[in-house]
Symmetry: C2
Subunit: 375 residues, 2 copies
């Protein structure tokens, strides 16, 4: 395999290092805007030098961001090159374009490192689909949020201090919005659901609530009631109807999710014969992410392509009925659905997920967290 | 694929049910001593009827036990049939015979369900080996022991009551020795280490301590010191030397292992690029186990054979230095290695794992548990 590598940052450099030790694949050209010299690969600032190189059969995209990653990947597919990418925003956003295009061009497309970093999550979804119907996917998919929530819970930090600590450790970006507002998790659960269920979700039908508004007082309430707050994604299939959403969720102390420390991920699928299977590991970082990029390259060499089928466009209905902790806003709807109070926060009666998120859109400063379903 | 199924108990019946819905494989003959009639498979009490059937290309062994499973599997390999088995005792015990024999006969051999039930553990070890060197494998591999230890810790039960409850739920057998004495975990860590490291361990060099002697007072001490006791297996490679052992181990509350409830498993590998990856799920049960048996059949159809290479015979050295909780026996060696006391139990200075287990062999009524390594 002769690889054109787009990007030479955290992940790209890791891919270069791991492949350098292998005989079955070789990075021959690297797209990089900085001054880098490599012993056995040509470094170029010109994407077209990679596109036009007919000896390159596979493009590994490790740039991140939507543009120009989208244009470059699209161009590579059109030029008949296989694609391996770790870019969840790219694949989730342009799923409807890139997957059918790759299929029509007869090129392979893999993106295992896009969800869970080093966890072989998407490849395991593909494996699971061979034998069973998947019912549910989701879990803790964002290490930045987990680090912040874990620090607030275990060390009693404020949100601002926990975020600052995450930033100083390199776990959060200067502008943390993509992580703390749940966008990263949203991309990941859309992509996971598409692959697990063989569908293509309408993005607008998947609501997301982040952790930006959580306070130390919220966390103290959760602890007092025996709960730990985690940012949890959910994708469920029930009788051909789908519920897919991202929201802060209370987990009972003693549950596996409650024990996930620092910036780790814990991702779960439920299948009708395997039952619950969970995967725990580093959801980011140079080598874990590069590890799964190289795994994808090995899979291409072994003839294993995309994990799933590209399926019909689906709107998530989100009619699950959940109780919520709601703080920071009040109105008649909330009052009419009030079942209890924890400090200044309202605990609702069971309400539809779609209704709770519609309410939150009109009260953007509020903080919500779903309570666990009582068995 | 035309399958001869050996055994029609918990796992065998599950395999039959899952394959019945598939077009790419069919159970055509079932070896079963009971009166069973199946709509689309012949039931026989005669193993030779399966062996002599040239239309059967794959034998699925779901009988359990060493004999006659060994003779039947060996015969099937010699007859040129591929093997899928969920029998960890068989594969661990006869690794040196069955693997080279299968290789010499050009037949494929898979046993994913043998470790972790429904967890795709061995298949993921095979995947990991494609890209990286594995450094460590192990974890909670026995649901029966986890159920007993979890009930003692969370509910304050005695060992006898926890065992009786596990038996009444079908999680433990009438004679629980294989589980509570750690033999099941011992087979699993030997098999996992062989596959992860491409070696063949000398069984006698792998020590095992079980949970039979644990008391409610031991558990109370662990809780008071912030620990949860789990039966943990360890297989480590360090500079070409191997340490492999099974023993009760104290885990700090808040660690992922400490949160594993009921009869679940949590199994982990550490690789030099993926870093830590853990797998959580049902380690037993009809459908999870049958799920991985059928996955193996799909892998055979896709041309994926054994996970690893059959490697050289290795003695584990077990020179890791650990501190232990030791209760129920005393002698000069223990006294000379005493660092502290918890109630009537001794906490040792760091001692070699091999030395601690050699001592335990001479004090079979004692209970030992390794303390976590302080960072």
């Amino acid at each position: 395999m002769r690889i054109g590598l787009l990007g030479f940052g955290v992940v790209g450099r890791g891919v270069y290092e791991i492949t350098a030790a292998r005989e079955d694949m070789q990075v021959v050209k690297v797209l990089c805007l900085e001054d880098v010299t490599l012993p056995d690969a040509e470094v170029t600032r010109d994407y077209n030098a990679i596109l036009a190189d007919d000896t390159i059969d596979t493009v590994v995209e490790a740039m991140g961001g939507l543009h120009p990653a989208y244009e470059f990947v699209r161009g590579a597919i059109e030029a008949g090159k296989n694609i391996v990418t770790s870019n969840k925003a790219l694949v989730a956003t342009f799923y409807d374009e890139l997957l059918p295009l790759a299929e029509s061009k007869g090129v392979q497309f893999r993106c295992t490192a896009a969800v869970g970093g080093g966890i072989g999550w998407l490849s395991e979804l593909g494996r699971a689909r061979r034998v069973q119907t998947l019912r549910q996917v989701g879990g803790i998919m964002n290490g930045t949020c987990n680090y912040i929530l874990d620090s607030m819970t275990r060390l009693g930090l404020t949100y601002a201090d926990a975020l600052a600590q995450a930033q100083s450790l390199g776990y959060a970006e200067a502008n943390p919005s993509t992580d703390v507002d749940g966008i990263d998790t949203w991309h990941k659960v859309i992509l996971s659901s598409n692959i697990a269920f063989g569908i293509s979700l309408e993005h607008d039908s998947v609501p997301v609530a982040g952790i930006r508004s959580i306070s130390a007082e919220d966390v103290a309430q959760f602890t007092a009631h025996g709960y730990v707050c985690k940012l949890i994604s959910t994708g469920k299939r029930t009788d051909g109807s789908y519920s897919v959403y991202v929201q802060p969720t209370l987990v009972a102390q003693g549950e596996p999710e409650a024990a996930v420390p620092s910036n780790y991920n814990l991702i779960t699928f439920i299948g009708d014969t395997s039952e619950r299977m969970s995967f725990y590991g580093q959801g980011a970082g140079r080598y874990p992410t590069a590890y799964n990029v190289v795994q994808d390259c090995v899979d291409l060499l072994e003839g294993n392509g995309f994990y799933s089928v590209y399926g019909e466009k689906i709107k998530a209905v989100n009619d699950d009925m959940l109780c919520y902790y709601v703080r920071g806003a009040a109105d008649a709807w909330l009052e009419s659905n009030k079942a209890d109070a924890w400090g200044e926060a309202v605990i609702t009666k069971p309400v539809a997920v779609a209704d709770m998120h519609a309410w939150l859109k009109n009260h953007p400063g509020a903080f919500i967290a779903a309570l666990p379903i009582k068995n």
